[in-house]
């Protein structure tokens, strides 16, 4: 949740919340707690946790299972605000962290059974980035030599992530990864070409799995599979029973089938108490494999069920509005349909996208400056967030003195110019690259060199950086040269002009850069992270250089160093590649857009930000945020209706509910989209305590007409309401 007030427990609990707190603490009884969002289920769980600690239960014997780490932070904050002598030490974990931790601990007992070639050696756990790297090494030769995936128009990073997604889905849903092809094929009703691609996808993931087993690499899917095997063993059962006596699960509906299998197993083991909270309008993480249908069955697996009916957050009118939109979509409203007009604070529909954005900025400014609303209580929600939208809104709000916080799934590291500039320095500072550059095997555009100079040298603007780069990186030499030395191609007069234009203070610093690079080239290659750390420490963070007294810019630098260090760690241990090659591989990994950067340093700061939030609907819902005012923008966009184009995988077909061999037809597609949109609307409304602003434009940002299904459903809902009146 946003806002401080939501992070500590309320003084007075509802009747249902009180029941949850008082649920028997011994005897292994389980309770299934359900309700719409905003009915106080999470608060009930947190109050229960607080009560357990207050009366002296051992914190480390309590397991709190949460679908994602943003919620872990919330639980931590509640623990921080407790008035008890013990205020932490509880195991608040996501399913994956728990699985990975268990597999690492029991590795010596399970490695050989699972088919790892070296069970006597420690495993290397892969991050998403490093898994993509290994997948890339497998896929690239197949693309080049055998024309794999030639019929698909898809960017490399998306190809890799879908291949990995297939493996992960198999593990999380609980079927053999070798069935991916048959499952996708059985549901496909289109061209034959796609079947080839499915087969190729299967071939790639099979090779990837074999490689992992041969090299003791444990990717996400293998961790999950290993854990599935592990928890069925008697020794693990014994361990679990000794370790945990109480279980709390929040947002049960956002869990994947295998996590739900595990929770079902855990219910049998726990001898203290178990409480599971289920959101009736959840299951938004369907693309990550969440199985709300299965989660609903837990009402039967638990000893008792309790429904929270009263809204704790005053989201009655927005919920009624969501109910009306759901009805207009042909879905069950799920919530009582009372008058909803007051939910809609204002509407805008103009011709142009830019005017729409201006309107949003104006209204936000009114809320903040005239009505005294805190920016953190306002969210702008779009189907997806483009660069143009981000820039236009941020700029518009900044002119009104309001900051904006962007919540967006991680972006490739290379999108950051500082990262690109630093990688250019890595290229220029490594002999292996130098050779490739000089032979013309790798072309480094002069613009990249200009950017690198601009980032490295303080007070160098883009124009002067370009001027310097053109002279310092002559096309015929393909490396940086000493402009005052013998290899310079400039006459003394030209040189004078150059330094006059670029600045004499830059001359000395440029020379220092060159000397440092020369020095670095003499050293044995130590990896990108260490190269960059040394560069930063001995030069770039000192006076006259680009990171001197620049803590904010250093964050991006830190992110790149962290990513490179993880890469080196994961790849070094299990690969025959030498350090030089690893450096080149890493640089390519980032420049090809594979490495993405959601890093530890980034995420917790969000809670402290007093800014308007801009977020894609999906990210907003899965992070379980709430706001007083929501601006639903771009309502005419198809983005609200379409699901991401994933030609090599399928969230519904690769689920437990889809029988192998049954075709996925338009009618199923239509139904699933309607349901997904219906859930999004309900989820958003339940997280809005004040009012909704409905905002659209006839023409989209690219000038095309917009008349999406969401917009139409809203119009229909409004019309139905006025007819009824």
């Amino acid at each position: 949740m946003r806002g401080q007030e939501l992070l500590s427990l309320p003084l007075k609990l509802t009747r249902e919340q009180q029941k949850v707190v008082e649920w028997p603490r011994e005897g292994g009884q389980s309770l299934f707690l359900s309700g719409l969002p905003g009915t106080g289920k999470s608060t009930a769980l947190m109050a229960r946790l607080a009560a357990l600690l207050r009366v002296g239960y051992r914190p480390y014997e309590i397991l709190v299972f949460l679908p994602q780490r943003a919620q872990v932070v919330r639980y931590e904050q509640v623990l921080a605000s407790l008035d008890a002598p013990i205020r932490g030490g509880v195991d608040c974990l996501t399913f994956y962290s728990f699985a990975k931790r268990s597999v690492a601990l029991f590795w010596p007992r399970i490695a050989s059974v699972l088919g790892f070639a070296h069970p006597e050696r420690e495993p290397t756990f892969l991050t998403l980035e490093t898994a993509q790297y290994y997948m890339w090494r497998i896929v690239e030769p197949l693309i080049r030599a055998e024309g794999y995936f030639s019929s698909l128009k898809i960017r490399r990073e998306r190809l890799l992530s879908q291949l990995i997604d297939n493996l992960n889905k198999a593990a999380l849903v609980g079927f053999d990864y070798k069935e991916v092809y048959s499952r996708l094929k059985g549901a496909w009703t289109g061209s034959l070409e796609r079947l080839h691609s499915y087969w190729q996808a299967q071939d790639c993931i099979t090779r990837f799995r074999e490689y992992c087993l041969a090299h003791n690499l444990v990717d996400f899917s293998l961790s999950v599979e290993a854990f599935q095997y592990l928890w069925k063993r008697e020794d693990y059962q014994q361990y679990f029973r000794t370790r945990y006596h109480h279980l709390l699960v929040d947002n049960l509906e956002e869990n994947v089938p295998v996590a739900l299998d595990f929770i079902r197993w855990a219910l049998e083991q726990i001898d203290g108490s178990s409480i599971l909270a289920y959101d009736l309008a959840g299951g938004h993480r369907i693309f990550l494999g969440a199985d709300a249908r299965y989660a609903a069955e837990f009402a039967n697996y638990c000893d008792c069920a309790l429904e929270c009916r009263d809204l704790v957050r005053p989201a009655g009118a927005p919920l009624a509005f969501a109910g009306a939109v759901r009805r207009a979509l042909g879905l069950s409203p799920l919530v009582g349909e009372t008058a909803f007009q007051e939910a809609v604070r204002a509407q805008y529909r103009g011709k142009y996208w830019v005017n729409m954005l201006d309107w949003v900025v104006e209204r936000i400014s009114q809320l903040v400056h005239e009505e005294g609303v805190s920016p953190r209580e306002i969210a702008v929600i779009a189907p997806y967030v483009s660069e143009v939208l981000r820039f236009a809104l941020e700029d518009g709000l900044a002119r009104k003195g309001i900051s904006m916080h962007l919540l967006r799934p991680s972006r490739p590291l290379r999108d950051d110019p500082i990262v690109r500039a630093l990688l250019t320095w890595v290229i220029l500072g490594h002999p292996a690259w130098r050779e490739a550059l000089e032979k013309g095997e790798y072309l480094l555009p002069v613009e990249d060199v200009a950017l690198a100079l601009q980032v490295a040298l303080a007070d160098l603007d883009p124009i002067r950086a370009r001027r310097l780069a053109r002279a310092a990186f002559p096309r015929e030499m393909r490396r940086l040269i000493d402009l005052d030395g013998q290899e310079s191609l400039l006459t003394p007069e030209e040189r004078g002009h150059l330094w006059e234009e670029v600045g004499y203070q830059i001359r000395r610093r440029y020379k220092a850069l060159l000397l440092w690079l020369e020095d670095a080239q003499q050293r044995d290659s130590e990896g990108v992270d260490i190269f960059l750390s040394r560069f930063f420490g001995s030069l770039l963070s000192t006076p006259g250089f680009g990171f001197y007294d620049q803590p904010e810019r250093a964050r991006v630098y830190g992110r790149l160093v962290e990513s490179a260090a993880k890469f080196r760690e994961a790849v070094r241990i299990s690969s025959e590649l030498d350090q030089d090659t690893l450096v080149r591989e890493y640089v390519r990994l980032v420049l090809d857009g594979i490495a993405s950067g959601e890093y530890v340093v980034d995420w917790p700061t969000f809670f402290a930000t007093d800014a308007v939030l801009l977020s894609p609907a999906y990210a907003y819902l899965t992070r379980d945020l709430a706001s007083h005012y929501q601006f639903w923008v771009d309502l005419g966009s198809d983005g609200w209706w379409n699901r991401p184009n994933q030609p090599l995988t399928h969230p519904y077909v690769l689920s437990r509910h889809w029988p192998v061999g049954r075709p996925w037809r338009d009618i199923e597609e239509e139904r699933s989209r309607k349901e997904a949109l219906g859930n999004v609307v309900l989820g958003l409304a339940a997280r809005c305590t004040g009012g909704i602003f409905l905002v659209s434009s006839e023409l989209g940002v690219d000038g095309t007409e917009q008349d999406g299904r969401f917009q139409r459903a809203i119009v229909r809902a409004m019309r139905m309401a006025s007819n009824e009146q």
């Binding site: 030490g89 399913f95 994947v256 420490g537």
Partner: protein, 274 residues
């Protein structure tokens, strides 16, 4: 207020504060990355950390009865093998109190309006006779003196938290301070075990010291977190260019020990959330 109520202090953060307030601010409050190497040989430093983490992980496995011999035999790191053999054969396992044994145990207690966190490498507690020992596995290159360890913030934090949380750990009764001790075991010097006893007076002193320390930190405005006056400490500090510190001589002691708290490792958090 820079530090919110409920803030989680640890032995590492307090130790940092005592040595350099500015480093505490940058590292623990602002989480300021400043990616310069703290050590001349960063690869060696990383190996040192990795080896320490692995050693701790092996000991956790041992605690849960997981057979380690194949892994140890196949391990190419001879120092790690040597540490393992030493802890297996020379550590006085049987002399420890029995009843409750826990490895990598996190304990978080209230400290005024803030919180204090400790993670014991190993806890041995006998709830019947109400005695307990906290064991800390040290992989340092040398053995500090008894006096240094006695005064160390880690010792004070660990023993204090043990008493403060003891009623929860034993499941009812609190432990008396003179019934607990801290045992430092040195993987490179397995015979040089150092035991630090505790007492009611020491507990009261620690309670007073720790509470006033966190109160002082909590009240401090941002600009009052001063750089250390002992510039030798800057020699191994990653922020030295941010602080504009020219380093002349380096201190004997460095900051490396700060990092070995592997269990709080945020890198565990996956980027991909399912």
């Amino acid at each position: 207020m820079l530090i919110e109520p409920g803030y989680l202090f640890s032995q590492h953060s307090l130790n940092t504060y005592v040595r350099c307030q500015r480093r505490f601010l940058l590292r623990y409050i602002e989480h300021q990355p400043w990616p310069m190497p703290e050590d001349e040989d960063p690869l060696d430093y990383q190996r040192h950390l990795a080896r320490g983490r692995m050693f701790h992980q092996w000991l956790v496995r041992r605690h849960w009865g997981i057979e380690m011999s194949e892994i140890v035999e196949a391990c190419e790191d001879s120092l790690l093998r040597q540490w393992w053999r030493a802890v297996e054969t020379l550590f006085p396992w049987d002399a420890l109190p029995d009843g409750i044994r826990e490895a990598e145990l996190p304990v978080v207690v209230s400290l005024g309006e803030y919180r204090l966190y400790a993670r014991y490498d190993y806890l041995a507690l006998d709830p019947q006779n109400k005695v307990a020992v906290i064991v800390d596995w040290k992989t340092l290159a040398s053995v500090p003196s008894y006096q240094v360890l006695r005064e160390r913030i880690q010792t004070r934090v660990y023993l204090y938290t043990l008493i403060a949380a003891s009623h929860v750990l034993t499941g009812g009764k609190s432990l008396a301070p003179d019934q607990v001790k801290m045992l430092y075991w040195f993987a490179n010097y397995p015979d040089d075990v150092i035991e630090i006893p505790y007492s009611e007076a020491a507990f009261q002193q620690d309670a007073h010291y720790l509470q006033s320390l966190v109160r002082e930190i909590g009240r401090r405005p941002r600009e009052a977190f001063a750089p250390t006056e002992d510039s030798r400490l800057c020699a191994h500090c990653q922020y030295r260019t941010l602080c504009h510190r020219e380093v002349i001589t380096s201190a004997e002691e460095d900051w490396l020990d700060e990092e070995i708290d592997f269990a709080l490792d945020l890198q565990d958090i996956p980027e991909l959330e399912y």
